[in-house]
């Protein structure tokens, strides 16, 4: 699980990078320096299911240099309504292999670290230590709590993205600048159930926004969702930004 430390100053943009990312280099506030920061960044994504798969795809597209993916288990038929890095021919085989394979095909210039485990209190510190930023796309509150605890200990920002049926939410947790995750969710909610109703388009919507927040944080671009929670009611296509106090 532990990776060798890379001298990030060596990760300069190449001519191929400039070709590949030419159209986004024109984004105001990004440019070559922002693209360089993306190339030098390591992002941990906790689960690459319906939400995390799209986050990973968008960050790979944007040229984030190193993606650490954590996801256990084998591809199930019921994954395929939303987990776009899984393929029908991979049912019964490890999800993490399918995700890594798809991402490497999509962007061979970035590094994919594939971890066939879910986040837990046992491995969270070691996984978070490898990343500059973490994206929480886990379905279990236990995993979210463990990852946020580790990120808080290490002073790393977490992008908290979640969905339920046709609702979604997004915020950036980075205490002490923002509330701690445990101030929002001190423990696993009463009555919470493992299975959640999900449409892939809803997962993908919040995932694209989560990837946008990751890019903004890495490239120091725009205003990240700190101390604010974006609430999305996609049944009514209503968006509300809630101030967190």
């Amino acid at each position: 699980m532990n990776q060798p430390v890379v001298d990030k100053s060596l990760l300069k943009l190449t001519a191929e990078d400039r070709d590949r990312y030419a159209w986004q280099l024109d984004v105001r506030g990004l440019g070559e320096s922002g693209q360089q920061k993306l190339k030098q960044a390591s992002v941990l994504i906790s689960r690459v299911g319906g939400l995390g798969s799209v986050v990973a795809y968008e960050l790979a597209a944007a040229g984030v240099g190193r993606l650490i993916l954590a996801h256990a288990g084998n591809v199930q038929p019921a994954d395929l309504n939303r987990q776009i890095l899984m393929t029908d021919d991979w049912v019964g085989k490890p999800r993490i292999e399918s995700a890594a394979r798809r991402l490497r095909e999509f962007n061979p210039s970035i590094e994919i670290v594939a971890v066939g485990e879910n986040l837990s209190a046992e491995n969270a510190d070691a996984l978070v230590a490898q990343a500059d930023l973490v994206v929480d796309a886990a379905p279990l509150f236990q995993e979210r709590l463990a990852m946020n605890d580790a990120a808080e200990r290490q002073g790393k920002p977490v992008i908290e993205a979640a969905m339920f049926e046709m609702e979604a939410s997004l915020t950036v947790i980075h205490p002490p600048e923002t509330p701690r995750f445990r101030e929002l969710v001190p423990e696993v909610p009463v009555g919470w159930k493992r299975r959640f109703p999900v449409l892939g388009a809803i997962s993908g919507t919040v995932a694209c926004l989560a990837a946008t927040e990751a890019i903004k944080l890495i490239a120091d671009l725009g205003d990240p969702l700190k101390n604010k929670l974006l609430r999305m009611d996609l049944r009514r296509m209503e968006f509300q930004t809630i101030r967190l106090r």
Binding site: L140, F164, V185, S203, T241, I242
Partner: protein, 103 residues
Amino acid sequence: MRATFSSDTVSLELTGPLQRLVGQGEVQLSASGGRLGELLAALVEHCPEAQEHLTSAAELRQASGPLPPGFLVVRDGTTVPARLETPVHPGEKLTLLSIISGG
């Protein structure tokens, strides 16, 4: 549960699993207790299934303390303390925002 708005009620918006359980996105509840705990106790009394996420009406009527985990309370676009003793005011609208975790 009253279906129409009146000035002595609080309009409580529900989201996520609790909305699904109650079957309504917004309910009108008596504000006579003046505290969030009383308001949620009224919700549980009118919709006993809500107890699955909120605990019993008797516990919610306790004098003080945090709400059961997993909720933000929103007034005018800003969170307010998710505590039983948080004041509620007739005629206002609150959102009981369920923290969700699906991915």
